[in-house]
């Protein structure tokens, strides 16, 4: 039923999921309670890694899109599409966890804060990419159009990252990458760094696995099309 390759992929996926579970264990039992926010701040250990994974996905999307333009290959497009799907997933997770965190700390589920708005924008852009992919007939035209959009989306990401410092905003300024070093407790910082690494690894596995599925679906579609017309 399963090929050796399938088993290897599933083993890797299970391994990364276990790492994510270990990180959550550390987030709940290793990291100390925050002096100001109490226990509620622990959602940060899912929120921040999700946000960084969502932003990193846009960089990966730009890389796969550039490769797609250079090589004109459907396999690069499959990787780019899988990246957009995973990017959308983590952007939605970022928005959801941010909203849940915002209720007790800001007193509202949603506000048109700069970073929330621009992250919402990123979700719309990933959705637009997936819509463009499904609206184009398969072929080199789709590879090129989607690749160009992938690069355009990446051009939008710096404004999202810098939005917190450009606008007056409710969102806290960057706590890790700032002049003068991080402001947080070392235990919290390490738990967060491990969380980011773990989630990025899991996301890269998801992209690899999903792109294989997309290629398989495309091959099946092409084969059934040929069979219909033979």
């Amino acid at each position: 039923m399963f090929t050796p390759e399938d088993r290897r992929e599933l083993f890797l996926g299970a391994l990364f999921l276990m790492l994510v579970a270990c990180h959550w264990f550390a987030a709940f039992f290793y990291a100390p309670v925050d002096e100001h926010q109490g226990e509620v701040y622990r959602i940060m250990f899912l929120h921040v890694p999700s946000a960084i994974t969502a932003f990193a996905s846009s960089a990966a999307l730009a890389v796969f899109s550039t490769l797609g333009l250079k090589q004109r290959s459907e396999s690069s497009l499959a990787l780019a599409k899988a990246t957009a799907e995973v990017g959308l997933l983590f952007t939605l997770l970022t928005l959801a966890t941010g909203s849940i965190w915002g209720r007790p700390t800001w007193g509202t589920w949603w506000t048109w804060d700069a970073r929330l708005t621009t992250t919402f924008l990123l979700a719309l852009l990933y959705s637009g990419y997936l819509l463009l992919y499904s609206a184009m007939p398969a072929g080199p035209g789709r590879v090129r159009a989607c690749a160009v959009l992938g690069i355009l989306i990446f051009a939008d990401v710096p404004i999202i990252y810098k939005s917190v410092t450009w606008w007056r905003t409710l969102h806290q300024p960057p706590s890790m990458l700032r002049a003068g070093g991080p402001t947080m407790d070392p235990e919290i910082l390490w738990t967060l760094v491990v969380g980011i690494a773990t989630l990025c690894l899991y996301a890269s596995w998801l992209i690899r696995f999903r792109s294989g599925n997309i290629r398989l679906a495309d091959n099946l579609e092409a084969a059934s099309f040929e069979q219909l017309h033979s």
């Binding site: 333009l69 719309l124 852009l125 463009l132 184009m136 159009a145 160009v148 051009a155 939008d156 404004i159």
Partner: protein
């Protein structure tokens, strides 16, 4: 190479202008749409305090311009779609940079024809006895915004040319990507009209606007060839 670029550019712009003038409805309809939208905004917002007038003027004027420009931009390849002109042009040895610049120029001309009446009419209907809202600097900011949006508009029009349901797909892609430009233009205009001087904050927003103009025009020049390449 350079002579072929400018020759192709001049030819394509000339043909584009002729096509637009032959079909004036395409030129006039975005302007009429914009004026209708300003009227709808006036009904929806109603009478407001004079202190809010400036913010409302800028919000409704730039939003209306964004919607109207989207209509103009999305139709920039419409003349080329007839009789498969677009597909034929892809097979001709024309300079793709010249082709992009010609379309960009056409979109700029259409944009100026649309933006001018919107800015003038918007300032006219929102003015108060104590404050005139028309400003040449705001016109300049709008022109800077148009420079970036036009490049984005041409790229997206070429990108969605072969897509199904492109009437809905185009705005779905255009509005999120146009947001940084819109935001910078509105913020710079608001700060300038509020204080009457070009403060460091105004300069910062203008810098962002210029940055996005450079990004979108550069990406347009680099990527348009990829979109129309036949290979």
């Amino acid at each position: 190479m350079r002579s072929s670029l400018w020759r192709d550019y001049r030819t394509l712009v000339g043909q584009g202008v002729k096509a637009e003038l032959a079909d004036l409805e395409r030129l006039v309809s975005p302007v009429l749409f914009a004026l209708t939208m300003l009227l709808m905004f006036a009904f929806a917002i109603g009478d407001v305090e004079p202190s809010l007038r400036l913010r409302i003027y800028l919000a409704e004027t730039f939003l209306t311009a964004l919607f109207a420009l989207q209509i103009s931009f999305s139709r920039v390849f419409e003349p080329d779609r007839q009789d498969r002109v677009f597909d034929l042009m892809r097979t001709y040895p024309i300079d793709h940079t010249g082709w992009f610049l010609a379309k960009y120029t056409m979109v700029l001309l259409l944009g100026v024809a649309t933006l001018g009446p919107i800015l003038f009419f918007g300032a006219f209907v929102n003015q108060t006895p104590s404050q005139s809202l028309f400003s040449w600097l705001v016109v300049g900011i709008a022109a800077m915004a148009l420079a970036g949006l036009a490049a984005l508009g041409v790229l997206l029009a070429a990108m969605t040319l072969k897509a199904n349901a492109r009437q809905i797909l185009y705005p779905l892609l255009y509005f999120p990507l146009a947001t940084p430009v819109l935001l910078a233009a509105v913020q710079a205009s608001q700060l300038y009209l509020g204080s009457g001087q070009i403060s460091p904050d105004v300069r910062a927003w203008l810098g962002l606007l210029l940055g996005f103009d450079v990004i979108y025009i550069t990406l347009g020049l680099l990527l348009f060839t990829e979109l129309v390449d036949e290979s």
